[in-house]
Each structure stands twice: as C-alpha cells, then as structure tokens.
C-alpha cells in the first residue's frame, strides 16, 4: 500500500513500563520518552555537562550531543532497567566518549587516588566567605579520568549505591568502597580534613 504524501515514518511505538507508572503498561513513542526524561533529568544533565567540559563555548555542543544520543537511544528502551539508569548510562557514555575524543586533554587525566596525592594547589576550596567553592570543585572534577569522574558525579547527585552500581557496572560493595574514598578525598581537599 502506498503511503500518502507527507507521511513521515515515525519511530516504532513501543509498549513499555516507565518508572513513572510501574504498574501500568502504556504505549509510548520515542518523543514521549524523551520528553519525560528531559523534564525529569534536565538539571542533572546540565550539571553533567559542566563536569565534562570546562570551556563554556563547547558545553552547548556536548549538551546537544548528549540529548541527541538520549533521543536516539529510546528506540531501544524496553524498560528492563529504570528510566533513570538508562538516562544516566547514555549521558555518561556519551560524555566519556567525548572526553576520550579530546585526545590532547585526556592524556593528562588521573585517577582519584593519583589526584589526591598531588599537592593541593587548588587551595582550600573555600572562597572569601568560607563557602565551598564550586569552581574549585569543578576544577578538581575536570582532572579525573572518566570512570572516577562518573562515580564522583553520581555520588554528588545523591544516588544510592545500588543505582550507582547498576549504572557503572561494578558491585555494590565496590561502590561503597569508592564512595568512602570520595568522601575522604573531598574532606581533605575541601574541608581541611573535617568531614562534611
């Protein structure tokens, strides 16, 4: 059968159960999933871009790349994991891919342990009003290798260990170990040794 002029083949409709309606199966399309993800996680994605790109002029490009990757990905979403896990995996994978493509900068990235062993040239991390300085925190994060950065960001987004484990792909015990290290490093770097 010939399709009428102007017919646009849309992405296939999928029957999925989203995190918003765990008990109801409804038919959604890619655009609906994207709208839902974008509405819920817009701020988190914006912050993620700040953590992966120090140049303000390039942040818009990275953000666009992530949104495009997210939109494309929903063609394969089958609700085998939560929407949150899906969104964070796509976003972090897209950002990690972006970082590894920046060959010149990626050579100087270090692990959390290595960075903690460097002298604290970033200062105490406090500004003149004794508030934790987000710029120094961002500078610290920008030095980290992709996986350490992902762990740090998921911790800062206040995710539980089980969710972090599912996104990163390591055991929950490993996540707890890494979080313990992150807390110690943040305390040393930004609180003069005091726990937050």
């Amino acid at each position: 059968m010939r399709r009428p002029a102007g017919f646009v083949k849309s992405n296939s409709k999928k029957s999925v159960t989203t995190s918003a309606q765990p008990q109801t199966i409804r038919t959604v399309n890619v655009d609906d999933l994207y709208r839902e993800a974008s509405a819920v996680y817009e701020a988190a994605l914006d912050r993620l871009v700040y953590a992966y790109e120090a140049d303000p002029g390039k942040r818009a490009d990275l953000l666009q790349e992530i949104h495009i990757a997210l939109w494309r990905s929903f063609g394969k979403f089958e609700a085998r994991c939560s929407l949150r896990t899906w969104v964070y995996r796509v976003a972090h994978n897209a950002a990690a891919s972006y970082v590894t493509r920046q060959r010149r900068n990626s050579r100087s990235l270090v692990s959390l342990e290595e960075l903690d062993s460097f002298p604290n040239v970033l200062g105490s991390g406090y500004d003149s009003d004794n508030r934790l300085d987000t710029e120094r925190l961002l500078q610290f994060i920008h030095r980290l290798k992709p996986l350490d950065r992902q762990l740090m960001l998921l911790y800062l987004e206040d995710m539980d260990a089980a969710s972090i484990a599912e996104i990163i792909g390591i055991s929950i015990n490993n996540v707890r170990t890494q979080i313990h290290r992150i807390k110690k490093v943040l305390a040393r770097r930004f609180h003069g040794g005091r726990q937050p």
């Binding site: 890619v30 994605l45 495009i68 994978n93 934790l132 987000t134 925190l137 990163i168 490993n174 937050p196």
Partner: protein, 190 residues
C-alpha cells in the same frame, strides 16, 4: 551556606538550554545529513582525483616526473583527509551504549584504541614507502648516483620507521596499563 559538597553541586547554576523532542529530532537529522554529505563529497572528490592521477601516471613517459610525484602525494593526502574527516564526524554512540554499563563502554573504547595502536601502522608505513617511491620518480630526472637514488631514500624511510613504530608501541603499552587499571577497579572491593 552549606558545606555539603552534594548540596553545593546540586545547586550549581547552569545555563543549559531546554530542547524539545522536535528540535532534537531536527538536529539529529541535520547532523546525519551533514555527515553523509561530507563523506560522499569527500569520496567523490578524491575518486575523481585518483582517476585523473591514474590517467596521468598511465602516460608517465610523457609526463614530467615532478607532476607524477605531485599526483601521488595529492591522492594519498586526499584519502587520508577523507578518512580523518569521517572518523572525526562519527560521533554517534554505538547502538548498544544504553545497554552497556559505563565501565564496559569505557573499557571497550580504550580496548579499541589499544588494538589500533597494537597493530603495525601499515597505512602510515605505506605512505612513507610511497613518499620514497615518489622521491625516486622525481630524482630520476636528474640522473642521480646510486647513492642519491637508493641509499638516501632508504635511510630516510628506515628512520621514519624507527621513529613511528616505537611511538605507536608506547601508546599501545599506555593503553594496556589503562585497561589493567580498569580491571583492577572492577575487582576492587577492599
């Protein structure tokens, strides 16, 4: 003002722009179209250049040696430019990226780069050999001595090999260490 890094982070003021599904769809389609156009245009341009160069080389008896050399270089550089441009433009995530954990994804990226550097860079070495060949084509017009015709180009080619191969191997070793570090990271439960 809170000293909690989490609160400070989550209160970060950003300037991100909201994008509608329609805008993203349009951007994705534009991006794909541009990639296809660039690649197609590059391939067509270099194919025309290659055919023209081959025609020129087929009449090498009449064509000056310098022109043959320029044609060879132009064709080689043209194909390299097309390949580099295509690689740079290929920013689409693999289809299974959402199904892959961050560790698996990153490990695969590093492994891919390691495998690239672990292999002998035949393409690059072929370019160096082609450069030696074109040198021979150019120099023959000047009735060179065997030293100039063969020894010097051979020495230059071997020097190029001696510089490029160790750099390639060093990058492969560095990436191998990174893969080992990722394996250790995955196992770390101390």
């Amino acid at each position: 003002m809170s000293d909690d890094p989490k609160q400070v982070w989550q209160n970060l003021k950003t300037q991100g722009g909201k994008m509608s599904a329609q805008e993203i769809r349009a951007k994705a389609e534009r991006f794909d179209k541009q990639m296809r156009l660039d690649l197609t245009g590059g391939i067509v341009a270099v194919s025309v250049l290659t055919v023209w160069a081959l025609f020129g080389l087929a009449t090498v008896r009449e064509a000056p040696a310098e022109i043959c050399a320029v044609l060879v270089v132009a064709v080689i550089l043209g194909w390299i430019a097309v390949l580099i441009q295509h690689q740079r433009r290929s920013r689409n995530l693999p289809d299974d990226a959402p199904l892959t954990t961050c560790l698996q994804f990153y490990r695969r990226e590093v492994q891919r780069r390691h495998d690239h550097f672990a292999k002998t860079p035949w393409l690059f070495l072929a370019i160096i050999a082609a450069a030696g060949l074109q040198y021979g084509i150019v120099i023959r017009g000047y009735n060179p001595s065997p030293l100039n015709a063969f020894l010097y180009p051979a020495i230059l080619v071997l020097l190029a090999f001696a510089v490029v191969l160790p750099l390639w191997r060093r990058e492969a070793r560095k990436l191998r260490r990174e893969i080992d570090a990722l394996d250790a990271f995955e196992r770390d439960e101390s």
